[in-house]
Amino acid sequence: MKKLEKRSLICILIAAVLLAGVGLFVFRFVKHGGEWATFYGNQQIYTDGLLNRGTITDRNDELLLDCTEDGIRYSDNYNTRVATVHAVGDPKGNIATGAINVFRGQLIGYDIVNGTYDTSSEGKKIKLTIDAKANVTAYNALGSRTGTVGVMNWKTGEIVCMVSTPTFDPAGSLPSDTGSSYYFNNFLSGTMTPGSTFKLITSAAVIDTLDDRGSFEYHCDGVNKIGKDKLTDVSAHGTVDFRLALAQSCNGAFGELTRRVGPDTMKKYVDKLGLTKPVIVNGVETAEGSFDFPDDNEVKLSWAGIGQADDQVNPCAMMVYMGAIANGGKAVEPSLIKSATFLKDITGGKSKGRYLNEDTADELRSMMKNNVKKNYGAGNYPGLDLYAKSGTAEVGDRSDAWFVGFIDNEDAPYAFVVWVKDGGFGSQVAGPIARTVLNNLIEK
């Protein structure tokens, strides 16, 4: 019998193996339980592969999406559906950054104690920061063109308008190709040639590094030869100083300024102004911009300094930069989910740190106001305390229209970005879209 006592250790060994395996499983359960539970095969929360619980509304509680066991239901209004689909997401989850995809965790409400058991009896709700009406206005203003409109409150970071075209009706038949451009949110996932809007970045570098910018002068003959190459302008601007160069968007002058600032400083500024890193919007990462400022090619460097060459910028990152200028140099992190507390309205949104010092921001602000006065015409933007910069990006034979900036109205501190693919001249095409959307937002 004594012998058996020792031999029986083998039974303990088997029990230990069982416990070790179960222990490993529990470890994985704790670590991956959230992923496992939100897997599309889980019929607690999916019916036929569609989420079966939770609702998504806009900031004014307008219903955008209702997931039930009988299927999912979008807004009854066609325009609302097509204008908000990139924010809300499509039933199949093809829009990578759609709320139904990226905020699925909140809709499901997984936690380790309750799993996916819904302790509330009315189901989970996500309130987005976007205003469905403003989205519809932006969608209508874009018309049939490809483009994007983004507006955020530069104090709180709340994105109040986010539209991307081409778009589609999520309640109708979905585009079959999952890689289709219909599923692409230009605002969060796109990067494009910024054109002259980039001069706001070059300007920031100039203000910080060239102390003699007050005496800067450039004679623009419309051709602006650099050696054998040219830095063409639409017309001959004549002699311009720094402020006028921005207001008239003089390529020749900004080419010269870029060369003076130098490639290293330019590199430093695109990093500093948050254009080369993804912007985080409630955990969703935007596309990151990319730039090339060569130190052995003055011509290419000059083109890069005026937003052409290899420059690629993400619209959301550009909008955040506009917000930073408006906010005295401090950038605020944008958000798409409306927080339940009012704290944000008082204290402002989550800071992304200081992009610019206050003096630089003020000078840029003043120059952007000057742009409106001298070029776009304040009379074209009645009721809006507008600060802006237009751009016309040359991409092959195509001209993409840009209009970026912010307004400083008391109850409407909005930064915006408008991009219209193949739209033509920036201020003439993108400007009115911005005006329409901003007015719609202010009317509320």
């Binding site: 019998m1 004594k2 012998k3 058996l4 006592e5 020792k6 031999r7 029986s8 250790l9 083998i10 039974c11 303990i12 088997i14 029990a15 193996v17 069982l18 416990l19 395996g21 179960v22 490993l24 499983f25 529990v26 994985r28 359960f29 991956h32 339980g33 959230g34 496992w36 539970a37 897997f39 095969g41 889980n42 019929q43 607690q44 929360i45 997984y110 936690d111 380790i112 104690v113 309750n114 799993g115 996916t116 058991y117 302790t119 009896s121």
Partner: protein
């Protein structure tokens, strides 16, 4: 009862919000009750420190007095002998001393080098002799003798045994399980409304009655230990709740299986009280098993890759589940038998036969359980580790050959560890188990609320996921711990064990249950290839449930606490 249930149904349907809050709260209550029920039982089982019964003394010249606490004792030079005589003239295992009926003793020389004489007569090796108290036994020149325990010592021993910690009284646990069962019925009504049948709910109530009758009857008969039964009744409750949730019509059948299982267990317990008759029944068990397996091979119905089912008149059953019971009994042997080659060969041949039949049926999960149990039991019998390893390696080679010829099993190995990479084909069942299971969190969704029930095999092979989803991870883990506790109990019981037959039986049964649990859980959560075996007590399936209950008899037979077990003759 029907009126009460209808009343609950009405309330639940009139006030769905209230019902929902009830479930939210009940989930906590279930966990608390389960912790109380299972931990109380587990603690009581593991605190067992039984003072062995002293049957007599073995006196060794210049070597002292050895109290004889087992029915079977090895005498020899080796330190692991029960009676150690550290002299070179004594063989490592010299002889065995066995308790016969009515205080009579047998002595057997195991072919020792220098032989043994009793009262001057040289014993023939490997032959049993009746000896009496006071006989002069000479082994390798050492004089020894057997002495009875004096009356005073016997009284003293009895006193010490009565000082042992008593098994926990079953009443509070019974009440807790009853409350658990009542709330389960309420929860099932809230969750399923009219989808759950009256029969299913009534089955749970009947299980409650069964439990009270069982405990009352055997308590009245003077038995004290009920922890294992409490654990089994608890797991059976979970089983009925799962049946009520996934297939309400099948719940009553499940209850009948529990009844048959309990009956079988009681029969086995009482039968095994007498070791001699238990030994004698083994050839019959072998014969029956062989017939059952052959019958299965001929009339077996193919079901999902394995022909391990037999259908008779609308009832289907799995013969291999019943063979498990015989397999333990045949593998267990008395100390005397462990030294007999014939007995060892018999067991080996029987094992090969069983494995062969299971392989032919294509039931590799069960074959694996039998094989692992064979390895462990062989090791317990011989202590030969190298042979254990050799057999293991041999089996591994065989296993690889199987993989080569059975492509669908090879596929399962290919999926193993990569379930999430192919969640809709090879990893379908595993990913669903993990997904639904993690969706249950720590507390579960409440009985009847699960979604996994719509999945094939969710109440059998994937039942671990089912338990996690409806009852939560905590209860699922507690059930695992209960099975581990049974194993620990089997090992702890060896100290006071009577015969190696009972201890090997308990350890073998423990091994079988643990391996089966391991294959079930690990297979369903992608820690091992999915083999499709049932979880003891918890999976639905009649034969599996009967075998689980009957298997308890082996643990009961090893329970030497004073008057605890109904598988042991009562003491005064």
């Amino acid at each position: 009862m029907e009126v009460v249930l209808e009343r609950i149904l009405n309330i639940a349907q009139t006030y769905p919000e209230v019902a929902k809050h009830c479930t939210t709260l009940l989930r906590w209550v279930f966990v608390v009750l389960a912790i109380y029920i299972l931990l109380t039982s587990i603690m009581s089982l593991l605190r067992t420190r039984t003072t062995p019964v002293v049957n007599g003394y073995f006196l060794v010249e210049d070597g002292g007095n050895f109290p004889i606490t087992h029915w079977e004792n090895v005498i020899g030079r080796s330190k692991t002998s029960d009676i150690t005589i550290p002299l070179k003239t004594v063989s490592k295992t010299q002889a065995i001393l066995l308790k016969w009926k009515d205080d009579k003793w047998m002595f057997k020389d195991l072919g020792s080098h220098n032989g043994t004489t009793v009262n001057g007569v040289r014993l023939e090796p490997n032959k049993k002799y009746l000896i009496h108290f006071g006989d002069e036994i000479i082994m390798g020149g050492v004089h020894c003798t057997l002495a009875p325990a004096s009356l005073e010592e016997s009284a003293n021993n009895r006193l010490m045994r009565s000082d042992d910690r008593e098994p926990v009284a079953p009443w509070k646990i019974l009440l807790a399980i009853t409350l658990f069962q009542a709330l389960t019925i309420v929860q099932l009504i809230i969750a399923m409304g009219t989808d759950v049948s009256f029969g299913a709910l009534f089955s749970i109530a009947l299980l409650s009655v069964t439990m009270w009758v069982y405990v009352t009857v055997f308590k009245a008969a003077g038995r004290k230990g009920f922890e294992m039964e409490m654990i089994a009744f608890f797991m059976s409750t979970i089983n009925l709740a799962i049946a009520a949730s996934s297939n309400p019509e099948g719940a009553f059948k499940q209850l009948v299986a529990i009844w048959i299982g309990i009956g079988l267990m009681i029969f086995m317990c009482i039968y095994m009280r007498d070791l001699d008759r238990t030994k004698k029944i083994r050839p019959i068990l072998i014969g029956l098993s062989v017939l059952l397996l052959i019958f299965n091979l001929i009339f077996g119905t193919m079901s999902y890759g394995a022909a391990n089912w037999v259908r008779i008149g609308g009832m289907s059953f799995q013969p291999s589940e019943l063979v498990k019971l015989a397999f333990i009994c045949v593998g267990a042997g008395t100390l005397e038998e462990l030294f007999e080659k014939r007995n060892t060969y018999m067991y080996a041949i029987f094992s090969v036969f069983c494995l062969g039949c299971l392989a032919l049926m294509g039931d590799f999960g069960t074959a694996l359980i039998f094989f692992a149990t064979y390895l462990v039991v062989s090791f317990l019998r011989s202590g030969d580790f190298s042979r254990l390893m050799l057999t293991g390696v041999g089996a591994l080679v065989m296993g690889l050959l199987v993989l080569r010829f059975k492509p669908y099993i090879a596929d399962r190995f290919a999926t193993w560890g990569h379930a999430w990479e192919d969640p809709d084909n090879g990893g379908f069942q595993q990913t669903r188990t993990m997904s639904f299971g993690s969706g249950g969190g720590l507390l579960g969704h409440g009985a009847g609320n699960g979604s996994m029930k719509n999945l094939f095999a969710s109440d059998t092979d994937l039942v671990f996921g089912f338990v996690m989803e409806e009852w939560g991870l905590i209860i699922a883990l507690l059930i695992v711990i209960c099975l581990v506790t049974l194993c620990m109990f089997a090992v702890l019981s060896i100290v006071a064990g009577r015969s190696t037959f009972y201890t090997i039986g308990a350890c073998g049964a423990a091994t079988m249950m643990l391996i089966q649990t391991m294959l079930n859980i690990f297979g369903s959560v992608d820690l091992f290839p999915l083999t499709g075996v049932t979880f003891p007590f918890v999976s639905t399936g009649g034969t599996s449930m009967m075998a689980s209950w009957a298997m308890l008899a082996y643990f009961k037979a090893a329970d030497m606490r004073k008057n605890a077990s109904l598988a042991v003759y009562k003491e005064d």
